[in-house]
Symmetry: C2
Subunit: 190 residues, 2 copies
């Protein structure tokens, strides 16, 4: 028995789409200013919509966070393109990791954005694309013989997300230095 295709989703109305965009913009601004626990009422006010509207579009805070992160990830992925062809694959990986840290820590409370998604979430979501892009950069460095072959991207990203978190701890952190130390641990020993 073949499952019939579900009917095409009714498109969002123009006013709803407009409000959705406003909310994502307002949330980006509020998260940058006050971190991921910024008041949702404040975000609704910034967007010029009622609280009910915010919750209708984003039933929980995490949905709003996801929307903001999707935008961010889509933009940061463009920075990976040239690195995928760099002459020094290990250095390209290091540059990429430093880039990720410098972007994510601007959003206090969103360090978990770098934690790899579950395998079941494969698809073309920006989070997954960022994960697989990082994986490509690691694989390339491994194939060049510079990075240990026993390292998997998941653990690298865990370490890196920890660094982004440390950067938001309120203490002064030399993120580049921490990434260097991590990279040193990934390099093949002569």
């Amino acid at each position: 028995m073949t499952v019939p295709p579900s009917p095409p989703a009714r498109p969002m109305r123009a006013d709803a789409r407009r409000n959705y965009e406003r909310l994502v913009s307002a949330a980006t601004e509020a998260f940058l200013e006050n971190g991921a626990d910024a008041s949702l009422d404040d975000i609704a006010k910034r967007a010029g919509v009622g609280p009910g509207t915010l919750y209708r579009h984003f039933p929980a805070r995490q949905n709003l966070i996801d929307a903001v992160l999707d935008r961010w990830m889509a933009s940061v992925l463009t920075e990976a393109e040239p690195l995928l062809e760099a002459a020094d694959p290990a250095e390209a990986l290091a540059v990429w990791l430093r880039r990720l840290v410098s972007h994510v820590y601007r959003f206090r409370g969103l360090s978990s954005a770098l934690i790899p998604p579950e395998d079941k979430m494969k698809g073309d979501s920006p989070g997954w694309v960022l994960h697989s892009t990082s994986e490509q950069l690691l694989a390339r460095a491994q194939q060049s013989g510079q990075i240990r072959s026993d390292v998997v991207i998941k653990e690298v990203m865990m370490l890196v997300s920890g660094v982004t978190w440390a950067c938001t701890s309120g203490k002064e952190v030399d993120a580049d230095r921490l990434i260097d130390l991590i990279m040193n641990g990934l390099r093949v020993r002569d």
Copy 2:
């Protein structure tokens, strides 16, 4: 002009001390169950005191967190003693770092406990003692020639606190593996 010594602090009344102890115990339990953002009203109820009493003893949530962590640090420091005399100083450092991670991540939201205190906070507070103990273990491994001499304890502890944070992210994390990778980055290259 010499500043006169301040008069000795009046000792806390018996009932106040009793309530303080109750609050710290209740907070420990609540933080273990629900993380560092457990409801303060719930903690007051658990301790059998009114909300006003909780705030009198602990004006902000961080004060309560500090009290809980002081207790914890005092107990975990006893585990460092034998490590300070271990035959393999690098392995002793690794064991110590793994111990710290396994202890801290039980308190969701308290990963920042491992971030080194500011220099101006030198003293015999447990936080500072933990910091200087870690420094001793690092110095010992450096003197043995196993660990790079350019590494400072602050950056190590930043990395480790990031790992403890990752452990509380809700995703499965092999903390020992991450510590191994970090240690590998600290080791002298042949």
